[in-house]
């Protein structure tokens, strides 16, 4: 089992013919993800070939959805056009939208998120590496080679830091149900809480790893949720204890504003909720392994 993406995922790639889009679509198809088509306005009618298969390219998501019955869309579109791509996927009836694009203006995301909520459509991202259900589906850019199927659910705001943790788990022989990067933007789609709820309900997930960072209060909210609703053990790491206030640490959302959004506050809230908070990302895999015995 897994959450959000699996063997039944019928994936559409918006921006499939671009440099990034075509490179990563090839990787996804080689991994065995069920890519059913792509969208690039003006390139409808072409074919995208990779991993010994070919999939059709459409001008619009609506046409692609009608022809392929895609249920998930992955957006590899530059920031200026990415919000449009989100609305387009939502209007075409896509159920899960994954947007990797970085640098989308925050006010655009406030509007887009409000619109998606009225339709009940799930968004992952933006500014995220996507999802990976090892052995079933890779929707995004998380390297397939570092993950193996197993019983640990991983959710994170980060990219390479998550890969680091997945890699360490895999090297200890510990597999993952699904690995999800929810992104580091101030306004995003699914948050820690929603992913935690999915992992809690997933019978194959035995443990959860949650990687947060400074900025906002999503980790504190997650802690309150965990205390009340999550029965599975959660191991966490919060990046940015050494970050100075008022400076954006790469991710648009990773900023300590005044006294809000500090790593200390998040670590304290998680610890109080019974979460094991690692001092160092190297420790996460070890903590998870010890719990398995």
């Amino acid at each position: 089992m897994s959450i959000l993406v699996n063997k039944d995922t019928r994936l559409l790639v918006q921006g499939i013919t671009g440099r990034e889009g075509s490179f990563h679509t090839t990787q996804m198809m080689e991994y065995g993800t069920n890519v059913v088509g792509g969208v690039t306005p003006g390139k409808g009618g072409q074919w995208f070939e990779a991993a010994g298969q070919r999939v059709p390219v459409f001008d619009t998501v609506k046409m692609a959805k009608e022809a392929t019955d895609a249920n998930t869309s992955l957006i590899f579109v530059p920031a200026r056009f990415a919000v449009d791509a989100i609305y387009e996927a939502a209007d075409a009836g896509i159920e899960l939208i994954v947007c990797l694009t970085e640098h989308i203006p925050v006010l655009d995301m406030i509007d887009a998120r409000a619109y998606l909520d009225t339709k009940g459509i799930n968004l992952i991202g933006p500014n995220c590496p996507g999802l990976l259900t090892p052995g079933e589906a890779k929707v995004g850019i998380i390297p397939g080679s570092i993950a193996i199927p197993g019983n640990v659910g991983v959710v994170s705001k980060s990219g390479t830091l998550t890969y680091e943790v997945i890699d360490a788990l895999t090297k200890m022989g510990i597999g993952q149900t699904t690995c999800i990067g929810i992104g580091g933007d101030p306004i995003a789609g699914l948050s820690f809480i929603e992913i935690l709820a999915l992992f809690e309900d997933d019978p194959d997930t035995d443990q959860i790893v949650m990687i947060g960072e400074i900025g906002g209060n999503a980790e504190e909210q997650a802690a309150a949720y965990i205390a009340q609703y999550v029965t599975k053990p959660v191991t966490s790491f919060i990046a940015g204890r050494t970050a100075p206030p008022g400076k954006r640490m790469g991710h648009a959302g990773a900023i300590i504003e005044g006294k809000a959004g500090t790593a200390e506050s998040k670590m304290a809230a998680l610890t109080a909720a019974g979460v094991t908070v690692a001092e160092n990302p190297d420790e996460i895999a070890r903590i998870v392994a010890e719990r398995m015995n």
Partner: protein
């Protein structure tokens, strides 16, 4: 991007927010002329993008053009929390003096995923402090994106803050204008502190603070031109132009990492192992994906431009870019730069072992885990002593 006070207030005024008459001077003589044109009674205000200017002596009253010139001469060139004052704003003093100071701001409430208007009758103070000591004195309303600010919302704020009723109509215009400005210019903060009631009974924005969402600048070329290049260090400018996320800190171990989350984690681990020896991260630096030679070389130049750096830790997780390719890129960059401080390279992920072998052959210090890398970097910074 943080704007200066004078820039913020001019943008507010475009949306109907009343501001004092004034202009910007870069010399005491200019300050005198502006003060004369404004009738003599002015306030001279340092233009630096940081709070606490008043306490630092960067805001002074002047009652004649001569005084304005003297005050400007004192303030120009002053250092306020690391920023050199290069401009002063000469504003007319509030007509009839100041009867009351109010706080008003529009910002983003991340938890609610909406814009939020925040008001308090405790204006003129640090709002963080008000929030800490007397949070009940801060009033908030959220703005539904498709609906905008409605009259009842500003009425609520005005009533809760006990504003005189005869000012409610004007207050609503200011709230709506500040939100319009926030929205039109893609701000993440528009703040008036203080919004005053003048001795003549009128509302006026005496100060202004505004942060623009950098990601929106492509559609606001006019705002992009407002960036004050004097406020940026050479290293920060080079980083911005080469697409590297770089933030200078005050430690002695330079860090070069791919990915923002991993970069923060690397800083944290360096501090974990280095703190007791007085070692810590000298910077945050995310080189982005791939770690190509050119990008690594630029990043190294940025790190080494800080003379406090005594060792550099390179931490790259190879995902789709293989570790051996990354290693070759690093060696090529090192050849170009020839750094004179010790380096520790930690490669992880795809083909990491092959990458480390390439680096070891070139006599580079390598590490397998992040903890191992941080300890080696701390030892290197301490001159080879074991950490």
């Amino acid at each position: 991007m943080n704007l200066h006070e004078y820039q913020a207030k001019r943008l507010f005024a475009e949306h109907g927010v009343p501001i004092p008459q004034g202009d910007v001077a870069t010399t005491p003589a200019e300050a005198r002329e502006i003060a004369r044109d404004l009738g003599g009674r002015v306030v001279v205000k340092a233009q630096v993008p940081i709070g606490g200017r008043g306490k630092a002596g960067g805001i002074k009253l002047a009652n004649t053009p001569d005084e304005a010139e003297e005050r400007a001469a004192e303030i120009l060139g002053m250092d306020i929390k690391g920023f050199t004052v290069r401009k002063v704003l000469i504003d007319q003093q509030a007509p009839g003096g100041i009867d009351q100071e109010i706080y008003l701001a529009v910002l983003i409430d991340r938890a609610a995923r909406k814009s939020m208007i925040m008001g308090s009758a405790e204006g003129g103070m640090d709002i963080e402090e008000v929030n800490e000591k007397t949070p009940e004195k801060i009033f908030k309303v959220h703005v539904e994106p498709a609906v905008g600010v409605r009259g009842y919302q500003s009425t609520y704020l005005a009533s809760a803050m006990n504003l005189p009723r005869e000012l409610w109509r004007d207050f609503h215009k200011i709230v709506a204008g500040l939100y319009e400005c926030f929205k039109a210019d893609d701000a993440s903060l528009t703040e008036i502190n203080p919004l005053v009631i003048t001795g003549e009974g009128k509302l006026m924005a005496l100060d202004g603070k505004m942060t623009i969402d950098d990601n929106s600048l492509y559609r606001h070329p006019r705002l992009g031109e407002m960036r004050d290049l004097d406020e940026e260090t050479d290293a920060e400018k080079e980083a911005r132009l080469s697409g590297i996320n770089f933030i200078q800190l005050d430690g002695n171990i330079g860090c070069m990492v791919n990915g923002a989350g991993l970069a923060m984690a690397t800083m944290d681990v360096v501090k974990n192992y280095g703190d007791e020896y007085g070692c810590g991260p000298a910077n945050f630096l995310d080189i982005g994906g791939g770690a190509k030679a050119e990008q690594v070389a630029t990043a190294l130049r940025l790190i080494l431009s800080d003379s406090n750096v005594e060792a550099v830790l390179i931490n790259i997780f190879g995902g789709i870019t293989r570790g051996d390719i990354v290693a070759e890129g690093i060696l090529e960059a090192l050849n170009q730069i020839q750094p004179d401080v010790p380096m520790v390279v930690r490669l992880a992920g795809t083909n990491a072992a092959e990458g480390r072998a390439i680096l070891a052959e070139a006599n580079m210090e390598t590490a397998v885990t992040l903890s191992d890398a941080a300890q080696k970097a701390v030892a290197a910074a301490r001159g080879g002593a074991s950490a």
